[in-house]
Structures are given as structure tokens and as C-alpha cells.
Symmetry: C2
Subunit: 368 residues, 2 copies
Amino acid sequence: TTNYQICLLPGDGIGPEIIAEGVKVLDAVGEKYGVGFTYDEALIGGCAIDATGTALPAETIQAAKASDAVLLAAVGGPKWDTTDPEKPRPEQGLLGIRKELGLYCNLRPVQIFDVLAGASTLRPEVVAGVDLMIVRELTGGLYFGKRERVFDKDGAGVGGAAGQYAYDTLEYSEFEIERIARQAFEIARKRRSKVTSVDKANVLETSRMWREVVHRIHDADYADVELEDLLVDNTAMQLINRPADFDVVVTENMFGDILSDEAAQITGSLGMLASASLGDGVALYEPSHGSAPDIAGRGIANPIAQILSVEMMLRYSLNMPEAADDVRRAVTDVLDAGFRTGDIKDADTPEDKVVGTEAMGTLVAERI
Amino acid sequence: TTNYQICLLPGDGIGPEIIAEGVKVLDAVGEKYGVGFTYDEALIGGCAIDATGTALPAETIQAAKASDAVLLAAVGGPKWDTTDPEKPRPEQGLLGIRKELGLYCNLRPVQIFDVLAGASTLRPEVVAGVDLMIVRELTGGLYFGKRERVFDKDGAGVGGAAGQYAYDTLEYSEFEIERIARQAFEIARKRRSKVTSVDKANVLETSRMWREVVHRIHDADYADVELEDLLVDNTAMQLINRPADFDVVVTENMFGDILSDEAAQITGSLGMLASASLGDGVALYEPSHGSAPDIAGRGIANPIAQILSVEMMLRYSLNMPEAADDVRRAVTDVLDAGFRTGDIKDADTPEDKVVGTEAMGTLVAERI
Ligand SMILES: CC(C)[C@H](C(=O)O)[C@@H](O)C(=O)O
Ligand SMILES: CC(C)[C@H](C(=O)O)[C@@H](O)C(=O)O
């Protein structure tokens, strides 16, 4: 029988609670399809800092690289918040593993589950039918460029007064833009065949190059896909104004960070959204939400985003599209049956049944 | 009698149509308060490119510097769109005048006019009471740092493949952060005394310095003002989730560009929002919206954002707060009386009277 090795990274906060439910669902899939899953758990983020002094220990990198896929929950918490550049920070684990595994392509699907449309702060008729995919470049741009802080004694650097001066570098190569553009066009072909490329070409040189490269790739190999350019500020508006019009949105790392969170919030149900980070080797799957330290350990966190990240893993890493469809159907059935975790409970539908993290995972697993 | 010299920059698209209504209202103010306004019109943006080959002719800079305040309408249009770095672009006029006049502080008030709450794509109960002020740093960051594109023949730059490579530099000095932070705290004291400082301190060195400087200024001189830090991605979410909770939001140039447009869209009435750009000398006032080339020349554009930029001019440059209040009251009265331009017409209230650009300007001016 086929056997897959899955690297589990529970991380911090609600991480351990929700990842257990992802594993529960994956085991149910394994049973149904006669596939074996073995798990290798490793440390990342704040818990790794506490145990080893670094947010991404070498053993974690090894475990991830030796696996068929990585399932991550979430990292971070107030305990490790600091602006001291000397101190380790949980998100270094996240940024580090993206770089180590070469995960340049972050996919963030944003969909409205019909029964949860009421959770959005947007009007129901505006969010009806929202189904978009943010394709975010994940290993370039401001995140990985050179940065520094210096004491600028004559103020010649910027501003004309003595004091500190700092910079970060937004950098891209043609190669990096080309490969993420190809991913976006390929994905669009399997969806509604429309790509919105987001940049700030009226200001940034990297954006002007971005726009040129995206159009070159489009015209050469993907002329069948509709392509539009949209400035990042205008995109921030249009996501609120007409979210259902978007299909695939491709953009650089920092713009993608901001816009994907904005797009996620449009659904009003952050606890329902998963993401995949792909490269040329092992890929990583995680919820779009954070580690929610305020509700950690109480058994009330919503595990569905984690479960849907298992769905993405089955689809993109394990080539089990039917099993992925099973997971999605199981989640939809559980929601349709009126089960809710606290975060997605609607005060207007008292007949809904509020359940905890474990019960929600079990309900989904049972329906696989 | 007092006489003020106003530099008018109509720019492109609907610019000339709406600025005429701003002038109409300013003249009405002049008559009421016995103040004289003389106008000096100059070229900026696309029309300046057509006439002189550059988006910001030297005479325009001179006219602006010689004035008591600058009233700008809007620049740009598809005619001048290009990614060719050799070609002049309309927005260079905008960026150039910000730099020339040292306009480091951009104020973008975002308010819901009660009668227009229905224009928002957000639920009425979510937008009720929205009244926030974005304070955007306007002469630093990615907008004015060094940028370059090079042919990187061995791909050593980034990405490991031959091709082009480009970079932009996000840079800030302590001095620049300090002065914008002070503006934010001063403004907050005149409002609800709460500042949200937005950064990406978990990734950017400039953001870590930003956060430190903002807190240092706060603790030393503005401890009475409430201060919270919010990551830019989280802010993009919270603006949709709980927009009414924000009072003053202060941030760096590019984050401010994105978030101020997002915040503006929350109202659903972009045609109603004005902005002020302040420095240590002459200040500039303009609508938050663009040049709307698609409706230019048809007499249907909404002049209210331009008229409210006159309100801000009276308040911040001409020290005429009563006159500023008059302008705002006049606009509110006209809206309450049911007059609308096409962009703010609500299909559900057929009793509203749709009027054109000139008529709307006259209605407001009459009520001064
Ligand atoms: C934690 C942080 C560094 C990270 C990012 O900015 O990429 C997060 O916001 C995300 O989107 O995964
Ligand atoms: C036109 C453009 C360069 C400008 C900016 O990005 O600053 C505009 O979007 C604005 O917000 O005033």
C-alpha cells in the first residue's frame, strides 16, 4: 500500500488543538482509500524558541524535507513579541521554512460557504458567489531583500537631521516573476480563466518589470486567459466594491500579504480559509488564520481551516483529488447540518448547534 | 481686506469641471467673509505633458510656491499610460509637487454622510458612525527611495537565472517618522484621542524603527493619547470588520496608499472624500478620487470631494474654521434636500433629484 510521510508542525496557541483534527480527517481519508499516513512532528515558532532558542531548528528543516508534505497549524503569541532585532521571533520560523523549502507560490482560496454568508460585514448580495484565488509570490520582495539600520550622524541619508536611518529592499528578478505568473495562468485555466495582476507600476520599478514580464508570459503561452492589470490601491478598493468579479489575483509578496488578508476578511469567516505554499519540492499547508493565543487550550477553536488545508494537501501534493472532494463535501455537510464552532455561530439562527474543536473534527471525519 | 492667492491645478479628465465648482464655493466664502481670493492656474499631469513635455513644469512649481494654498483636482488618463521608464507619466507631477513643497503629511478623513450610508457595500450597522482619519507619510518610503533595473547576466542577483533584475528601496529616517507621528498625535487630541500606528514590524526593519520612534514620541509628549500598534495585514482586515472603531490611523507612504483607498471605499462614496497634504510651507488640497477619464467633459462628475477639499483648505491653510464649517454644513444641507450626482444616486430612493456638476456646485455655493 501507498504510504505517505507527513511532517506536522503544530506551532503555538491553538495550533496543537486544530492540527489534531486535521490528522483525524487525514486518517479517515487513509482508511477509506487504503493509503497509510505516518506522522513526524517537529517544532516551529514560539515553542521552538522556548525549547531550542531558535524559531526553526535544523531538525525541523530536515523533517520537512524528508516528508511528502508539511501540515502547519500556526505560530506566534504575545509571549514572543519584540522589536529587538537580536531576539528570535516566531515568524522567523515561518519565513525560514518558506525559504528553505523554496515555497515561492502561496495559494489562498477565498470562498463563501452559502450557509455562512451572514458572517460577512459586507451586504449579502455583494458577497454572494465570491470565489477567488490569491496567488502570492512568497520568497521574494521586501521579505527577503537586504535590510539594515544605521546611525546616520549628519542626517545626509534621509531627512536632513541626525538620528537613525533604516531601509528594506524590494527586489525581484525576471525569473521569480515568470514562475509565479505561470502558476497563476495555469490555475486560472482550471477556474474561470481570468487573471488580475496587481502592482504599483506608476511608482515602483519592480512593478513596471512585473507588469512587463506577466504580459510577456501571457502573450507567449497563455493568450487564452483573460489578463487585466490593477494598481494595488485600486485593488484594495475593488475587493470591497465587487469581490465576486475576481477569479485569480496574482501579486508580489507584501501586496499579497495585505490583499489576501483583506480578501479573507470579506468572507467574515477567517476560521474557514486554508492556504497552500508550493515550490519545486515538498509543499506546506496551513490555515490562513493565526494562532489565536486568547482562546488557546480551551477546546473551542475552529479546526475547519486546518481541515481544508488537508484538502489542499490531498489535491496539490498527494494527487488524491477525489479524497480532497470528499473532505470539502464532508465540511459542507456538517455546516449544512447546522453544526458551528463559536466563531461562526450566527446569533440570528438559534437552531444552530455549537460544538468544540474535537467534536467538529469528529463530525467531519465521520462523513468522509 | 485680506487677500489670498490660490494656485489652481485642474489637471486631467474631470479635473477642470470639478475645480470650477470648488472655486465657485470659495468665491461664495470670500463674499460672505469679506476676503479676496485671486487665482493662478497652472499645468500638471497629462495636460502638462502634452503642452510642455513634462508632468510638472517649472512654472507650476513657482506658482505653487508663490501661493497661499494649492487646490488640485486630479491627474492621469489612459492616454498617458506607459511602463516605459523613459516616457513622462502624469503621476510624476503629483509625486514631484509633493517633494517640491515638502508635503510629508497626507490627511485623508473618511466619514459616512448619514444619508449616503446605503452607498456602502458594507452592512449599514457596520458603517454607521465611521469617522476616521488616515495620516499617511507622503514624501518617504518606497516612493522616493533609490530604484533601478539592471540586466543580471549570471542571475547572481536574485533567483539564480539570467535576466533582468529590479529593486526599489523602502527607507526612512528617525526624523521623518518623528514628524509624522507628532502630526498624528496632535490631530488625535482634537478628535477621539486614539492613534493606531500601522506597520509590518514582524518583517521590516523600517517598521521596527517606526514602531520604536512612534512609542518614544508618544511616551515623551503624548502619553494622554491612546496608542495601539496594528500590523498592516491585520489592519486591512479590521478596516472591513470594525471600521467605526478607528480614530486616527498613522502609517508609512505605501501602506497609507493602500489602506486609505480601502478605507475610502468602505463609505461607498469616493466622490465625497477630500484630502490635504501638509508640510512646513504651502499646503495642497485635492479630492481622494481620480480623474475619471470615462466621464470627463459630460458635466456629470461629482464636485463634492473637490468642494470638501476647499473646506480643508479653509481649515488648515487659511485659518477660517467658521467658513470651513459653513462649507460642510452647506454640503450636508444639499444632500439632506435630496440632491445627488449620478454616482451617489440610490436606486431605492426615486424621490432624489439627480443634478450635474455645475448645478451641484451652485446649490452648495448658494447655501454658504
Ligand atoms: C507572520 C507573517 C510574517 C506572515 C507574512 O507576512 O507573510 C503572515 O502574515 C502570513 O501572511 O503568512
Ligand atoms: C497616482 C499615485 C502615484 C498616487 C500615490 O500612490 O500616492 C495616488 O494613488 C494617491 O494616493 O495619491
